[in-house]
Symmetry: C2
């Protein structure tokens, strides 16, 4: 039986959207969210995906999950700011293209590519070198 | 004494950034945030500004204020989605230009101006007609 098929009678299982999976790598499983690093060397860019099936908007989560999402988002934001010393964290949940709820946490610096505009939809993703990707994932884990 | 000058010895008072004030109108004071409607007829676009001085990042709020910000953001998101029947809510806290913490809650529809891209920095603000602005503020208040 596939891991994505629920046992009969239980709630549907969480399944990560294939586009999110392809464009990012797993950093850690938090209490509610899968924390992933977007494989895009242009900016340090994290994604939090609540491991709940069928959710598109934060307000569709249960009240407890809404509180957890806020807690985990702020934890990750602070870690990314401490780690990078960036000018500003950009946080957003858009979902216009990929509907599965995912929260972006991005480190921005004055004068970076497309500053002060938003990063979403800007140009093409630039994958990291594999060793740089692994190094960054380890560094983020150390800051959580 | 100006309302923006703190009584001697107390914490500094909250003062709304002048750019946020100019480009939006007050809808309501919630427990933590001032809720404002951006005066931009291109999209239904709300702003939540925590009434705390000197805060730039959500994670710099106290834990209780972080929980309140999440609660009020989700309350407003649900109200805006119910009211507009939009395809997707876009939520974001960027602050690359105006550093005072403010959370955007925007109603997006498939095929709207710049869909599926982000609205921030796109083109020029288009103010509402005054009667339309007043009507919309009243409608939002009714949905909270």
């Amino acid at each position: 039986m596939s891991e994505h098929i629920s046992p009969q009678g239980s709630a549907p299982a969480f399944e990560l959207d294939s586009r999110l999976e392809t464009e990012s790598v797993l950093v850690a499983n938090l209490g509610l969210c899968q924390l992933r690093l977007r494989n895009d060397a242009r900016w340090p860019w994290l994604l939090l995906i609540p491991m709940r099936p069928g959710i598109e908007e934060p307000h569709d989560l249960t009240p407890l999950d809404q509180a957890l999402l806020s807690f985990e988002t702020n934890l990750v934001s602070k870690a990314l700011k401490d780690m990078t010393g960036c000018t500003k964290i950009n946080v957003g949940a858009l979902g216009n293209i990929v509907r599965q709820l995912h929260v972006h946490v991005i480190a921005r610096n004055e004068g970076d590519l497309c500053w002060p505009g938003p990063v979403w939809g800007f140009g093409e993703r630039v994958p990291y070198q594999p060793d740089e990707l692994a190094r960054l994932v380890a560094e983020i884990r150390n800051h959580l």
